[in-house]
């Protein structure tokens, strides 16, 4: 009996883990370095995504360097993820193998609070599960992000990517894009509005693109020499 238990436990260990290669920060002061870890076995509603591209968000820097005081190490950053679905859980139906899929800043939420029910999962009051530097719903498994080869996510928290867009340019939409799109929509910013965008980084440049597309007139403000260069190149 004992032997049987040990065997099945061993089989369990082999079965539940999906090996992944990533880059991780071991502390607030160490450089990112190669890091091997494991993802959970697919649950019925999970998809396994082979990651193609992951954007580098400024939050990655803040969190790697523990500038918000809540970092968990080793940390595999990255929440601007685009890849292809390579495996479906038993009841996962939204994606076919080979479909392009995207993952943003969170991979689960309580699904019960009023914000979740309104589709405002980002403001979940019952425990938003961040894509990295957070804990899964079990409260102990550390979430790890897109600076890695593969990720396992519940299909309901995976986005579909429209065809024909260059995927490396899609990745930043998952944070920089939605972070600027959402307030522009909420405040109904468009024709007749004068909008200033402060800062011209990943977020700022997307804010300018969306505000222009919505018909607002834009003005960018920037502190550094980089912007002056952009201006003379006629890129802005």
């Amino acid at each position: 009996m004992q032997i049987f238990a040990a065997r099945s436990a061993r089989r369990e260990i082999v079965r539940i883990m999906i090996p992944v290669k990533g880059y991780a920060a071991r502390s607030a002061t160490s450089a990112l370095a190669p890091f091997a870890f494991e993802r959970r076995e697919l649950r019925p509603k999970d998809v396994l995504i082979d990651i193609l591209y992951c954007g580098i968000c400024h939050s990655d820097l803040h969190l790697v360097r523990n500038e918000w005081g809540r970092s968990i190490y080793p940390m595999v950053p990255g929440h601007e993820i685009v890849g292809r679905v390579i495996e479906n859980g038993k009841h996962a139906r939204r994606f076919k193998k080979g479909d392009v899929a995207a993952v943003g800043c969170f991979v689960d939420s309580c699904r019960k609070c009023s914000n979740c029910k309104d589709g405002l999962q980002q403001y979940c009051t019952g425990g938003l599960v961040l894509t990295y530097n957070g804990y899964e719903k079990d409260g102990k498994t550390i979430t790890r992000g897109g600076y890695s080869t593969r990720i396992v996510v519940d299909e309901d928290y995976v986005l579909k990517v429209p065809p024909k867009l260059p995927l490396e340019k899609v990745a930043p939409l998952l944070c920089a894009g939605i972070t600027t799109y959402s307030p522009l929509r909420y405040w109904k910013i468009g024709k007749g509005h004068k909008v200033a965008v402060l800062g011209l980084g990943g977020l700022g440049h997307m804010a300018v693109k969306f505000a222009s597309a919505f018909g607002a007139s834009n003005c960018i403000k920037r502190f550094t020499k980089q912007a002056a260069r952009c201006q003379t190149n006629g890129r802005v």
Partner: protein
């Protein structure tokens, strides 16, 4: 990109002309900056929307809010339906980010460059470099 004007914040004269000028400010700055100064650029009823998260605290005097019935607000990413809506919108209007693709082995160098604002406008890691 679609911007109709462009101002360096060091250009004091130009900044002076922009007082009481904007309906909205989208503040994406993730380093400390003078919120009071930027609030003064808003017209009456104007809204400043913060989406960047600096690591320190910001100072704010109520004067610039009260005198122009201005607001300061914040916004965090988006929910699943809106994120899908945004991606679909980008597909229809061919909107994507301007990126510089790097192999993951260059990630630490990329971090240093981001801190110097030396990127147009997003680094993206090509994970083929790790496979």
């Amino acid at each position: 990109m679609g911007a109709s004007d462009f101002v360096l914040t060091r250009d004091a004269d130009k900044m002076q002309q922009l007082t009481n000028h904007f309906d909205f400010i989208i503040d994406t700055v993730s380093a400390g900056h003078d919120l009071d100064f930027y609030l003064s650029l808003l017209r009456t009823n104007g809204v400043m929307i913060c989406v960047g998260l600096p690591s320190g605290e910001e100072q704010l005097s109520p004067f610039n809010l009260v005198l122009g019935r201005r607001s300061i607000a914040g916004s965090l990413i988006g929910g699943l339906p809106e994120t899908q809506e945004m991606l679909n919108y980008c597909g229809r209007h061919n909107i994507t980010a301007d990126v510089q693709v790097i192999p993951i082995q260059q990630v630490n160098r990329a971090y240093k460059r981001i801190l110097k604002s030396d990127v147009r406008y997003r680094f993206v890691i090509d994970l083929a470099s790790l496979k």
